[in-house]
């Protein structure tokens, strides 16, 4: 399976490393070249030596997405720090590049819920934190 992850922050880089370890082809796109460091940290070999791909580019620039391999991707994950950026590129991946599976990280629970209803598979870390905190608090 070929997985393209846009956004090499804490979530994007960790998911990328796990996906690569699990035997997938993984490509990561981020506008900040220094974000690559997250992919190498705590690893025995570099990201590239382990078979990973890394592209520097802005998420909204189609050229960067194509260079990172969006046309071949089976799975696309939008995990930049911007909700709106994620929601726009996820829709581009789905509608323009016909990526079969698209996952989008949205911090705002309200928008995550509405876009989920519209057929986008959203992941909302804020909602997870709320649910978890609620469980812990009510158990105490």
């Amino acid at each position: 399976m070929f997985i393209l992850i846009v956004g090499c922050g804490r979530v994007g880089s960790a998911v990328a490393k796990r996906a690569l370890e699990a035997g997938n082809d993984v490509s990561v796109l981020d506008r900040d070249p220094l974000s690559h460091e997250r992919l190498d940290r705590d690893q025995t070999s570099t990201w590239e030596d382990a078979g990973g791909r890394f592209t520097v580019g802005t998420a909204l620039e189609t050229d960067g997405l194509i260079e990172a391999g969006i046309e071949q991707a089976d799975v696309f994950m939008a995990a930049t720090s911007g909700d709106n950026t994620n929601l726009v590129i996820a829709q581009i991946a789905k509608r323009r590049f016909n990526v079969p599976r698209v996952i989008v990280r949205v911090a705002d629970p309200a928008r995550a819920a509405w876009y989920n209803e519209q057929g986008l598979q959203t992941i909302c870390p804020t909602q997870s934190a709320i649910d978890q905190a609620e469980q812990v608090l009510l158990a105490a």
Binding site: L60, E61, T62, G82, D83, N84, T85, L87, V88, Q91, I92, R95, R96, D108, A110, R111, W114, Q118
Partner: protein, 224 residues
């Protein structure tokens, strides 16, 4: 008419001013607190503080009864999202989005955000209008209505030179609406004669440009 404007930069603030001067009800939304403070001194209750891409901020501004939502922030993804939510979630009838980076225009189109206004594009069209060597100039494109207005310069060797308007066979779905000659424009009649150097304005269904260009430009120039 109730108008919500997202983004109180130069464009948003001046739009709000103009619309208020025309007795429209306007709410301007600005997410930068410092900027909000500056604008509030003039516009008072007509400006609200908040991130217009958040649903509750739009609802607080009364998006349910908005007739028009204009997204003119400096971020294209924000403008796309605000308009998409306004249109698809709240059923706002009319939206207008600003395109900051012309390279993002295809994204606006892909997601059905129309009209999308790009200052770069507008200025480019004005330049093309002033510099006739470009040949075909697209003056106006009403994409949802499937109409556009173009301007063509009549070059030597083209079949239109010296012909009456009624003798020029145009494809179905196109019409000559004006002729510019020596800096003046007129609406031609069937017996008006097209001359070399005229600029001809046509209204047409999109897709007919090439066929029409061939009537007024020599075949070699049509491709350029």
């Amino acid at each position: 008419m109730y108008v919500i404007i997202a983004g109180a930069g130069k464009v948003g603030w001046n739009l709000a001013r103009e619309l208020i001067a025309r007795d429209r009800e306007v709410t301007l939304i600005e997410s930068n607190h410092e900027r909000f403070g500056v604008v509030e001194e003039e516009l008072e209750h007509a400006v609200q503080y908040g991130d217009a891409s958040e649903l509750w901020v739009l609802e607080r501004a009364g998006i349910q009864r908005a007739d028009l939502v204009i997204a003119v922030t400096g971020d294209d993804e924000d403008n796309i999202l605000i308009c998409q939510v306004a249109k698809e979630k709240y059923g706002v009838q009319r939206i207008v989005a600003r395109v900051n980076n012309p390279r993002n225009l295809p994204h606006f189109k892909l997601l059905g955000i129309q009209p999308a206004v790009s200052a770069t594009d507008l200025i480019l069209r004005l330049i093309e209008h002033e510099v006739p060597e470009y040949g075909l100039v697209q003056l106006l494109a009403l994409e949802e209505e499937h109409l556009e207005i173009i301007e063509l310069e009549v070059v030597a060797d083209s079949e239109a030179v010296g012909k009456q308007v009624k003798e020029i066979t145009l494809p179905e779905g196109s019409l000559i609406i004006s002729v510019l000659r020596n800096g003046r424009g007129f609406v031609p009649k069937g017996d008006s004669v097209i001359e070399l150097g005229d600029q001809v304005l046509l209204i047409l269904d999109p897709g007919l440009e090439r066929e029409i260009t061939e009537r007024f430009a020599a075949s070699g120039a049509a491709a350029a």
